[in-house]
């Protein structure tokens, strides 16, 4: 008992609390302010136009999904490290956790947007939500056993609940571990991490069908879930590496060395390939088979989004491939930040084309609204991320692999 109290005391002394600098706060609020201004001007100047409500809800859906997916990707990565009993990541674990802890807020915003769209009978985004459309469309009728409002919301609520319960458990045990130590928590995390992966293996596919693929309601692709998942994973890794580099530059994280940064860089490199591989596989199979109801998805996007669509693929694949190939580049924080920011925008564009290609089709537009909303969300995201970082010590002092992680070098 005395020993334990001593350890708790020791831990309290070791805590290096992260505090948000005034500059960071100003930047985040600046992003929100500028973004909100742009968005409002965008709304006022375009409000009378045709398809405007669809455009508004499309943008809400894109940004709510993209930022929620970053949190979800981080939660997946945390569970993956627990399940594989990885050692190297211990010193950056709190950063992964902090990114994942955006998820409750992300889910809140995303849930609100989904609810609004549901009340608007799909808002021409989820056309299967509108009973009149379904009555005239035999193809949707065939899918209505799966795609109906009640089942959609049941599934959505199950995803949200499972994700949040696991996240809460991971965080609770992570903070508890700081206090009590030992290996019991580690093995519990190991089991829970593996269990989460089983759930996520199914949910990552089905949720992508529900939230994104059902926008193109006639179209289907079995690869779609993995493709969406690879995109969210790489976005999460980019945010993790950017946060790590930022904190390192601010003088925190004394134990994070080049090798940790290199490792996260390798993840970005590898998952960019995974994403490109899935993007290409989906594209090539459908292009080769040339079946009318399948190619419609790509005809829409290659005809109406041509440069954006292939440009997006170019910056998400060729860019990280050529620049991050060498060992030195993955250890250079400047290069990583540059590539990271570029592919983060690239993956936002990916989600943009996924959603608005289905909902707005040829009537898409990138105006003030499209630029403003992601800026608002980015500002909110940064504020919440920093709040999460400040809420716990940045080094998990009793992580069983902490020593291995501190000496991580290759």
């Amino acid at each position: 008992m005395v020993l334990r109290q001593l350890q708790i005391q020791q831990n309290k002394n070791k805590i290096m609390e992260f505090t948000i600098t005034k500059k960071a706060k100003k930047t985040a609020f600046g992003l929100i302010g500028v973004g909100a201004l742009l968005a409002i001007v965008g709304i006022i100047t375009n409000i009378g136009e045709a398809h405007f409500t669809t455009r508004l809800m499309t943008n809400g859906l894109i940004n709510a999904f993209f930022f929620m997916a970053i949190g979800l990707g981080a939660l997946f990565f945390l569970a993956l490290n627990y399940a594989t009993e990885a050692g190297w990541y211990a010193v950056v674990k709190r950063i992964i956790e902090s990114v994942a802890l955006f998820l409750p807020y992300g889910i809140g915003i995303f849930g609100l947007i989904l609810l609004t769209i549901s009340f608007m009978k799909g808002a021409h985004i989820y056309t299967w939500m509108d009973a009149h459309t379904v009555a005239e469309d035999e193809l949707i009728q065939g899918k209505s056993a799966y795609l109906n409002m009640a089942f959609f919301w049941l599934r959505t609520l199950v995803y949200f609940t499972v994700y949040l319960l696991f996240l809460r458990g991971f965080r609770k045990r992570s903070l508890l571990e700081d206090q009590v130590g030992g290996t019991e928590i580690h093995f519990k995390n190991y089991r829970k991490g593996a269990t989460f992966l089983v759930f996520f293996a199914v949910f990552s596919s089905t949720s992508a069908w529900d939230w994104l693929m059902s926008i193109d309601v006639h179209w289907y692709s079995t690869l779609f879930g993995w493709y969406t998942f690879a995109g969210m994973w790489v976005s999460a890794m980019v945010v993790i590496v950017l946060t790590t580099i930022y904190l390192k530059k601010q003088g925190y994280l004394p134990h994070v060395n080049d090798s940790h940064i290199h490792d996260i860089g390798k993840w970005i490199f590898a998952i960019s390939f995974l994403w490109s591989y899935l993007w290409f596989s989906q594209y090539m199979l459908i292009w080769y088979a040339n079946i009318g109801e399948e190619v419609i998805y790509y005809v829409m996007r290659t005809e109406n989004y041509k440069y954006l669509y292939f440009g997006m693929f170019f910056i998400n694949f060729v860019f990280p491939m050529l620049i991050l190939m060498s060992r030195d580049a993955k250890r250079d924080t400047g290069v990583l930040m540059f590539v990271g920011l570029v592919i983060l925008i690239g993956h936002w564009l990916d989600v943009f084309i996924m959603v608005s290609g289905g909902s707005l089709g040829a009537n898409w537009n990138i105006g003030l609204l499209e630029i403003g909303l992601p800026l608002v969300m980015a500002g909110v995201f940064i504020l919440i991320l920093f709040k999460n970082l400040a809420s716990a010590p940045l080094t998990p002092v009793n992580h069983p692999f902490l020593d291995e992680s501190i000496h991580h070098e290759f």
């Binding site: 290409f280 594209y283 090539m284 292009w287 080769y288 040339n290 190939m325 060498s326 060992r327 070098e409």
Partner: protein, 178 residues
Amino acid sequence: MSDKVIYAMYGDDDVLKSSAKKLVSNGVKISEVYSPFPIHGIDPIIGVKGTRLGIMAFLYGLTGLALATIGMYYFMVVEWKMNIGGKPNFSYAENVLAFIPITFEFTVLCAAHGMAITYLLLNRTLPGMPAQNPDPRTTDDKFVMEIRLSENHGVTEDKLDELLKDTGFVELDKKIIE
């Protein structure tokens, strides 16, 4: 010109590593270490330069990419126009998607084989080449450090013996190589 070589054999890679650190800090040049498996962190201690195998892999990959593209362009578009289910449609650029899987495979094939052969050549370990290691036990569970007197003008043999004495080797061998 004859050269005297000292072989210090160790039973543990960590012991060898700390011994190598001690010798190098005393100005000894270690010419080679023989080990049944890669020893992490030994390269910077004995001064092995970073490998350029990665650059070679990239070049082999580019070779494969170019060969596959030229080959398929010639086979499928130039020499005998092939049209399988409407694709490829007599144009390489418009149907590049159909060629990408093979291009990818051939790139990987060339990079992997080129890299493996280069590695074996540089180490002189191609099948049939005479063995380089001084003792067959270094392919089993022993680690040998090789020190050549001709590369160590500043350190006498007696000094080397003294330095090696307490490093925990299991066997010490000296040979004169013609």
